[in-house]
Symmetry: C2
Subunit: 244 residues, 2 copies
């Protein structure tokens, strides 16, 4: 990773970028993943680059849903693996639920490299897609899933999901928790719980909340309220004050 | 370039992305350029992915300034070269002003590949940076310029500029025309003329306007009005209606 001065005003943002460009060099992250990250970066900027109350509530509700799920799975793509590998592994271990590698841009090589990267960062249960198990209604490579993972899951946590797959998973009767910085996206609108926050801030918070007793977590959660509040912040003058 | 169905609702956006990921494969575009593009994509989305009146006025004013400049130079980076090489070459030829390769992430190899790419697409005058000529007040690689190009230029057209360099160029007394989808960025605010539009839409329009007689072009231009109007669109409910 290239050196970023400690004093740099956009240090966290630049370090996050460096994790992804390193991810590309390691064969984990795709070129398109970099573009998608840039898009998220702009929304994060418009949201003031902080975790809002609506995100905290969504994280709390996500923790409750993950703990109480029968078969929860954490779906991992090339950006999530590059940005928060340690947190994903820890989440999997604490919950006792597997990670499953699932990529938009098909590549067995990248799947294996992501698995290796997650193992190095402490994950133990890592499933890979299997062409025998398919999510119906999807054209992309993301339709292939693992028979012991997403295929039989009732709850899927997919940080950084695409709209088509989110809709297909919901259509299939599964519950989906996602992280999406754009509250207007199809993913954000289709998901059961949408954490409108940067994955690098949200994952450590989620990791903390899944350690809480279930009864301490949120019982009443309204995702449409989350999206309305996030959209209001997006349009708020104050959150746009600082510069890229 | 990968195949994108003609009917795809986000075809132009996906084709634009494919030009950049191809640019990376060709050694023209940097990884960081992909992230920067994604950020611009989000702002374009919020602006409704169309050329607004404020951008048309800025393009008109930019044409007038380029025509009337004593020593104008068109500064080209890895994203501009990948996205609009033909238009950059044509602009250079019509104006009789040189292109100059100028990269944030230093790489002689990439400079040479960009020059080659521009030559293939019809450009003829292409300058490269020279370590003997420096723009003061800049730490990045972008401080090095060509003695016959940016160094002696009174007007610089830099689509896709960074804030530091835009401010340094303005400080040095030069006039800067830029294309920036974020009207709140330091570049957008520092530049003499800010075209708040997608480079793939703006360049063909600019190319058309520089062919107009100088007297037909805009005389009174107020960049702060452009930025105010662009910001108002960014916050307008209607422009955010469609989904990514």
């Amino acid at each position: 990773m290239s050196e970023i001065p400690l004093s740099h005003p956009r240090r966290i943002s630049l370090e996050t970028r460096a994790k992804l460009t390193d991810g590309v060099r390691q064969g984990i992250t795709s070129f398109d993943g970099l573009i998608a990250h840039g898009r998220g970066e702009a929304f994060d900027y418009l949201l003031g680059e902080k975790t809002h109350g609506f995100a905290e509530r969504a994280i709390d509700a996500a923790a409750a849903l993950l703990i109480s799920a029968k078969h929860a799975v954490i779906s991992v793509n090339g950006n999530a693996a590059a940005l928060v590998p340690r947190e994903l592994g820890a989440l999997s271990e604490i919950l006792g639920k597997p990670l499953e590698v699932n990529l938009f841009h098909a590549s067995r090589d990248r799947e294996l490299k992501i698995r290796e990267h997650l193992l190095v960062h402490g994950a133990r249960q890592i499933l890979l897609p299997d062409e025998d198990f398919v999510i119906t209604g999807l054209a992309s490579n993301r339709r292939f899933v693992n028979g012991q993972g997403i295929y039989r899951a009732d709850v899927i946590f997919v940080p950084l999901e695409d709209g088509d797959r989110c809709e297909a998973l919901i259509q299939s009767g599964r519950k989906v928790i996602t992280i999406d910085l754009n509250p207007l996206s199809r993913t954000a609108r289709a998901a059961t719980i949408t954490i409108v926050d940067n994955i690098v801030r949200a994952l450590p918070l989620l990791l903390d909340r899944v350690k809480a007793p279930l009864e301490d977590l949120l019982k009443d959660y309204d995702n449409s309220r989350t999206l309305r509040e996030a959209e209001a912040v997006l349009r708020d003058r104050k959150s746009m004050e600082f510069k890229l």
